[in-house]
Symmetry: C2
């Protein structure tokens, strides 16, 4: 099955899709378009969901909130950023970087002190750099190779522990068998003292480990939130989910298996 992921060629998503799924990949320009196409059932998709430095990826979380798609696999990949330029560092007029990449490489970029222009992807940074002799870019190794960019400095990320979690999404959920984790979206709709405490109690009382909880705007007005909750598949998880359903609105985001991918060097 074709897997849709984020283009142009050379994004980290593209690199991971090639390594996990081989050549049957189609590149789309935004995460929103990928999620829309996956919801229509034509293909699966691979999108980033969170980074260990920069946090949740807004457009992916919004897509999971709005569209009928399910997570069927998660994959963790170390992220290494490289600085490319075709001029001397002293002659740089501009550096192109994706906003998340800028955050993840803020130490190096602040020290350089050159103006940053944000782009829509790491591969877009590479393409923008090619248009100006006095431009630099922060790019993945695969983007540097695809677009033949001279790498002046490797590993410019703030943290050597920088990891992005990607999810494969599909129009249909997978069977729970063999899965290690599930994700749900909880919409409390109301706000009262102790509500979130009560909701989390259904997991705590069964010693089910929550591996992540992230609030996002409900988009019904300031101060109203929904919660993305990931939990380990431990005994009692189905009863916990049923208890939760009796208390609030729950959208299932799927149960899935886990893959680890080493950094590409």
């Amino acid at each position: 099955m074709t897997v849709l992921t984020l283009g142009p060629a050379g994004t980290f998503s593209h690199e991971l899709a090639l390594r996990l799924y081989g050549d049957d990949i189609e590149l789309l320009p935004t995460i929103g378009k990928i999620i829309g196409a996956v919801a229509s059932g034509e293909s699966d998709g691979l999108v980033p969901i969170e980074n260990s430095e920069a946090g949740g990826v807004g457009s992916t979380l919004r897509g999971l909130q709005d569209a009928n798609v399910f997570i069927v696999e998660e994959a963790y990949m170390p992220i290494r950023h490289h600085f490319a330029a075709r001029c001397d560092p002293g002659d740089l007029a501009v550096i192109y970087a994706h906003p998340q990449t800028h955050e993840q490489c803020s130490g190096f970029l602040d020290r350089l002190g050159v103006g940053i222009v944000h782009t829509s992807s790491n591969a877009a940074s590479a393409l923008a750099m090619l248009e100006r002799e006095d431009a630099g870019a922060v790019v993945s190794l695969s983007a540097a190779e695809i677009y033949r960019l001279p790498v002046l400095r490797r590993d410019v990320q703030n943290s050597s522990e920088n990891v992005t979690r990607f999810v494969r999404i599909s129009a249909t959920p997978r069977d729970d068998a063999g899965c290690t984790r599930c994700s749900i979206l909880v919409d409390p709709a109301a706000n009262r003292a102790g509500l979130l405490h009560d909701l989390l109690g259904v997991f705590a009382s069964r010693s089910i480990n929550l591996t992540r909880i992230e609030s996002r705007p409900s988009r019904r007005g300031m101060g109203q939130y929904v919660f993305f909750i990931d939990f380990d598949l431990a005994p009692g998880w189905e009863e916990a989910r049923e208890d939760l359903r009796r208390m609030t609105v729950v959208k299932e985001l799927g149960c899935y298996t886990r893959r680890e991918v080493p950094a590409w060097t």
Copy 2:
């Protein structure tokens, strides 16, 4: 006292600072630079912290996590975005928009179908548009006025309820007297089943309302989070905070008063 806020002239932060604090304002190019200057004690600052559509502002949350600054006031301002261009819509080659603005106006921008280039602020979008005859930009009303941009379409935001919450930050906390809300940052350092449930229990058992909880990466590695918690100042809040201190690491982010500002029309 001079208040530092986000430039160039015409950002929503700048508009709000002018309305709240008058003319004694200094514009800096990034939120990181504002927070750094505030921490050094030279001035107060005004920065956005969350938007009702797009969620938390990463660079502000990271600054609160890392720097010794305190919230002393919060202000809520309705956000209205306007579409400006100097050419016919059919001749547009590019539209400049801040990534958060892009998210908040995704319906209108998707329908237009013109390529979007992200900028570092709404005012930067206005400045970028001035350099190209075939460019459009999504801007604030004040940016349109300052840079004399022709507004082709008003109110292009997805939601008429779009509100941004700003905070005034200072190197010293204010006295609790008269405050309505406090913010803390909780760093659980460990992860075990039920930990977050236990932490929230200190508020629930006293019927103290949490108005917001947002997880952010601890930046110590994937799967480790810190929690930004805002709560209403209700009886027992000081004991709740003490209980929490016995359980985990708590960074105080300040107690503050609230202001509401109508949209500028």
